[in-house]
């Protein structure tokens, strides 16, 4: 187990380096001038620009800048942006909102997705199964901004069930509808995966054994088949956390939520590279760590997988 974790952590290093290098390079290549608009109506004086570039190391070659950035990262410092705010501070005031949004989405997709998948899988070919198949297909076909627009129109404007936009900071109540929208795509996949997995496991020999042991249907399905069926679902839910954080960019924009999505927009528009790179670096780290945790969890839940 210990060896496995070490090997996985070692494998994460090149991936982490590659991802940060790529984003750092893209940021480096972003067009535009970070000093634009800093000196009022007039363009900044060459002396100011020179000082600005020197202060933020922008006069150095790309690789030197990148290595300097990495060294900073190793010290747990995400740097200071052009507005003299530390990036960690910028993230700290926005990440909680995005994480709460992702939690709403996660809860929604797990509860509704797994339940729908179980109901569909138990009676394959039944009414619920067909309904779930059609509804999930519809949700998968609808880009998140379409679902967002539609739910805003109906749940927000027409029926006035949920607020259409969020305050700063957003309340849980304001995050419900965005959370449903954000989780809808993963929900569809969770429902389908649960269904497929359950259908497969219901045909398994050990379920027949459970019946032959005189167990009730509820126990044969609810304990024996379900325990096995949920293994891939847990993996999927874990892996989708990274995607949820990415999807939050769109959802936050639709519902005007001030989370990391908003921060990314702002930093792109203001050419605030330090903030942009820092945000992405943290997202990639979350993705890698969550994936590792899910793999370890899988090893605990499925005794056949050994991490030796």
């Amino acid at each position: 187990m210990g060896k496995y974790i070490i090997r996985r952590l070692l494998q994460m290093i090149p991936v982490f380096l590659g991802a940060t290098l790529f984003i750092y390079w893209l940021n480096f290549a972003l067009p535009g001038d970070p000093t634009a608009g800093r000196c009022g109506e007039r363009p900044c004086s060459p002396a100011y620009i020179e000082g600005f570039n020197a202060k933020y190391g922008l006069d150095k070659p790309f690789l030197v800048q990148y290595v300097r950035y990495l060294t900073m990262l190793l010290h747990g410092d995400l740097g200071t942006n052009y507005y003299n705010n530390t990036v960690i501070h910028e993230l700290a005031i926005r990440y909680p909102t995005t994480i709460r949004l992702a939690l709403v989405a996660l809860a929604f997709m797990t509860l509704v997705g797994v339940t729908a998948g179980i109901l569909a899988g138990i009676r394959k070919g039944g009414v619920i199964d067909n309904l779930v198949t059609i509804l999930t297909l519809l949700v998968i076909s609808m880009p998140v901004f379409v679902i967002g627009g539609l739910s805003q129109r109906f749940f927000g404007l027409q029926w006035k069930i949920f607020p259409v936009t969020a305050g700063n900071p957003a309340t849980w109540n304001q995050l419900i509808l965005p959370g449903l929208v954000l989780g809808s795509l993963s929900l569809a996949y969770v429902a389908r995966l649960t269904r497929t997995s359950l259908v497969e496991n219901l045909r398994a020999d050990y379920v027949r054994t459970a019946k032959a042991k005189g167990l009730s249907t509820a126990r044969s399905i609810g304990l024996h088949a379900l325990r096995n069926s949920l293994l891939p679902v847990i993996t999927y839910i874990g892996a989708s956390i990274g995607g949820l954080m990415g999807g939050a960019i769109v959802t936050e924009r639709i519902f005007n939520i001030n989370g990391i999505g908003g921060l990314i927009w702002r930093s792109i528009n203001q050419r605030d590279g330090m903030t942009l790179v820092g945000t992405v670096v943290v997202l990639v780290m979350i993705y890698l760590v969550v994936n590792l945790l899910v793999d370890l969890l899988y090893g605990v839940l499925d005794p056949r997988i050994s991490h030796d």
Partner: protein, 333 residues
């Protein structure tokens, strides 16, 4: 080390497919060798799948929709539509007219006909989807074959490379990448489209790479491959005539499903204002314009028709891919 379950690799962006895990590897016997079934009629893997698909109405619905949107993007004139960017198309006095009275789909807030916009919007979406899916399949497929067949350090390097692009959320990476390649309203159409295609393919190929790699790994130890190698077939010959044909089915299926996802992602990027830019006509741009809260209230049909067209197009490809997958997968029969 334990291999991560396939379903896990499937996520990032709307093109990910959780059910990928159910796509079984090709059966042990070479499926391209015709097998006699009980009735003595020889059938191949695809022949079997065709027999199953052609009896399913949903398959034909998907095919009809794909043909419809393909025609729309090749020859929008056939649908009686005129280029919405043309002279005299937009008349402010018709602004926000509702559909009806011989006016299909109504007019938008600038008085432009929504019908013509929707028909002309198909081209960008289908083109982006098709090109991205082909590019991702080509890059992911070839690298996956190389990694799976050669193994060793080549595999390790390519796999880590794929991990890098997997670890960056598609939308996030897409936004940053789109910004780094600037275009202006004067840029040629192919550049605007090509930029979106490359961006999506950069983050889309690892999906196909992993699929192809595991597919090749499953096909490689089979006896007919061993036999071909033992008979002195060159690596290129073995890969070309035995491994690729037998690993291709899952790639084709997932690429078709992903195609739908790319269309959705292109629309999302355009919606966010960083995908296709005006004067290109695109459903995403139309939805973006229609999505401001005052317009949602006053002109909902401006949002509805492009959104419906977009969803139908995405649905068509995902449905087609799923139908083929179900027919190819003996476990689901």
């Amino acid at each position: 080390m334990t291999e991560r379950p396939d379903s896990m690799s499937g996520f990032i962006g709307p093109s990910a497919d959780a059910n990928e895990a159910t796509l079984t590897a090709p059966p042990v016997a070479d499926p391209f060798d015709e097998v006699e079934d009980n009735l003595g009629k020889p059938r191949s893997l695809w022949g079997d799948a065709w027999e199953i698909m052609r009896r399913r109405p949903l398959f034909w619905v998907a095919v009809a929709l794909v043909v419809l949107f393909a025609t729309m993007s090749i020859a929008p004139q056939l649908f009686g539509a005129q280029d919405p960017r043309g002279q005299g198309m937009c008349l402010l006095e018709r602004a926000r007219w509702k559909p009806g009275g011989g006016i299909l789909f109504g007019f938008d807030d600038q008085g432009c006909p929504i019908y013509d916009q929707v028909i002309y919007g198909a081209r960008s979406s289908i083109l982006v989807g098709l090109l991205t899916a082909s590019l991702a399949a080509f890059v992911g497929g070839s690298l996956g074959t190389v990694a799976g067949y050669l193994g060793g350090w080549v595999d390790a390097v390519l796999s880590r490379l794929a991990d890098v692009f997997f670890a960056i959320p598609l939308l996030l990476g897409g936004i940053v990448l789109m910004y780094s390649i600037p275009t202006t309203p004067d840029s040629p159409y192919w550049l605007v489209v090509g930029k979106v295609v490359v961006t999506l393919a950069v983050f889309g190929w690892p999906n196909i790479f992993r699929l192809m790699r595991s597919s090749v790994l499953q096909v490689k130890p089979n006896e007919y491959v061993m036999a071909a190698r033992a008979l002195g077939g060159s690596p290129l010959h073995v890969v070309g005539s035995h491994i690729v044909p037998n690993s291709l089915a899952p790639v084709i299926v997932v690429s078709t499903i992903d195609l739908g996802g790319y269309i959705a992602t292109e629309a999302t990027l355009s919606f966010l204002g960083i995908g296709l830019q005006s004067p290109a006509v695109s459903w995403g741009l139309q939805i973006s314009r229609a999505s401001s809260i005052p317009l949602i209230r006053s002109t909902p049909h401006m949002l509805f028709f492009p959104a419906a067209a977009l969803c139908l197009a995405v649905l068509a490809f995902i449905l087609l891919g799923e139908m083929v997958r179900d027919a190819l997968d003996p476990k689901l029969r």
